[in-house]
Amino acid sequence: MRVKRLRLRNFRNYAQAEIEPCAGLNVLVGANAQGKTNLLEALYYASTFRSLRPVRESDFVRWGEQEAMIHLCFLRQGIEEELLVKIPLNGKRMVWLNEQPVSRQSELIGRLKVVCFTAQDLLLVRGEPAERRRFLDSELSLISPRYLYSAAQYRRCLEQRNNLLRAHLEGHAGLESLPEWDGQLVKYGARLFAERRRFLEQLQMCATEVHRALTGGKEAFQLLYQPGLLHRSQLPDKEEDWASAFQASLREVESEEIRRGMTLVGPHRDDFLILIDGHEARLFASQGQQRTCALSLRLAEVPLIEKRIEESPVVLMDDVFSDLDPERRMRLMRFLQPRTQTFLTCTSLSDLADLSDSSEAAAIYHIQKGQVFHATH
């Protein structure tokens, strides 16, 4: 899959811009605050219809203007497709796919497949378990509608059950309906456990492959699922077995849950450990190693997507080079090239000095105050 042309109008700090990226490496270079990330954001948005930052869509509209526009031509299974997005300052965004208006989000998401790495992804390694659960949820929701549905049902059950336990603690409700909430929590929870376990196995395979490529096989990478149950070492295979393990944990903690007025076990307490040579990366890895782990996790999406759709996604990399030594930078480029079309931001071309020979097709774009200057070399 690759982007053939991107046109922006009144998007973020771009009044008007157009690029026709090459099939290989596209470097966006410029000083701080010139619009490099904004350009990646446009591509990311055209793929996921989400933003890279926690903002409203209307924030995309260039200050003082009325409407932002993203116009994208890309190749999908060798066929050219065209996506046009208009985001008004007030009102609903409008999208045309191949000149047909499309309003259903599900028909739009992932039409263009991108994998996007940002500094934010370091939180996968360094952050709280909630960051990793959010990662699992967003990855799985893209693959499995059943997961998406079960996760929403689970959240609702959990909220109801916690409310019941709290109301009981405060003395204004009995626990008559607790067995029913338990039953449903277990039913949806077991699905989440089983799907997360299965996904983590695939993710581990793919991330290991990436990590091996990035480190030249010098580090052993491993993911360890830590289900939010009392006995974290048990990792059943089937959904029914997850259900009975969950049920058993619930029974064991029941009196404590009643005493504390909250649900203490379940997939909302899940985590997974990232190990390098058997040691937890969060606690022991160096900065460069942590960044490499985050990259391995994120870029594992590349082989995962390739297996699913038999085509490589477009890769977006924001500020990826900091903390990486020249060898890892080169290995990263070798992993991505010529496999994928890549968009990469950096503040200085010297970041690329050691890589000049490693990529066959490369284009360099200088980004200055919301303008793009193409430099052939």
């Binding site: 049902q153 059950c157 019941l164 449903q184």
Partner: protein, 213 residues
Amino acid sequence: MRWVDSAGWDYPSKMALFPPSLRQLIALLERLPGIGPRSAQRLALYLIRRPTDEVEQLASALIQARHQVRLCERCFFLSEQTLCEICQDPSRDANLLCVVADARDVVSLERLEQYRGLYHVLHGLISPAEGIQPEDLKIRALIERVRTQPPQEVILATPPTVEGDATALYIARLLKPMGVRTTRIAYGMPVGGELDYADAATLGYALSGRREI
């Protein structure tokens, strides 16, 4: 006089200019579900411009409905008598009892002209998040009703949401020792919606495809 306050919200200061009776009307309309301050204002200004007899009709319809409509003593559907029209109808099959969350669900099911049994309206679903516990619903009355006049089958037609499922499962657990056949209507897809909004075809399918629970 400033009409627009610092937050750009022009409503409160303008409101003060309306005469007292209109202000009271607006304040009362605002309490209705789904009506915000702006719609309340719009409705009130509309109403006071209508012909007097039309407004009187509306007012008396409100009072009449409020005084005459009550809950059927048997099934808790809405009625103007002790028993509702459905409960009074001798041609209805007393061996089938369909349990629904809301009075509107009875209307949706009746529109299908497919179901000929009786109903029981719970007036809500178990939902601790909204402070609704089993004792706040017509569940005890249902159990009592099944005990004294046991039907052959109780159909649990609460919506396919976690609250709808929990309520159905809770009732099924209480009915179990009574030995009455209990079924749950089948929803093909997880729709997460309310029975009231399901289209007729889906509902008909759901009713005929019910399963034992």
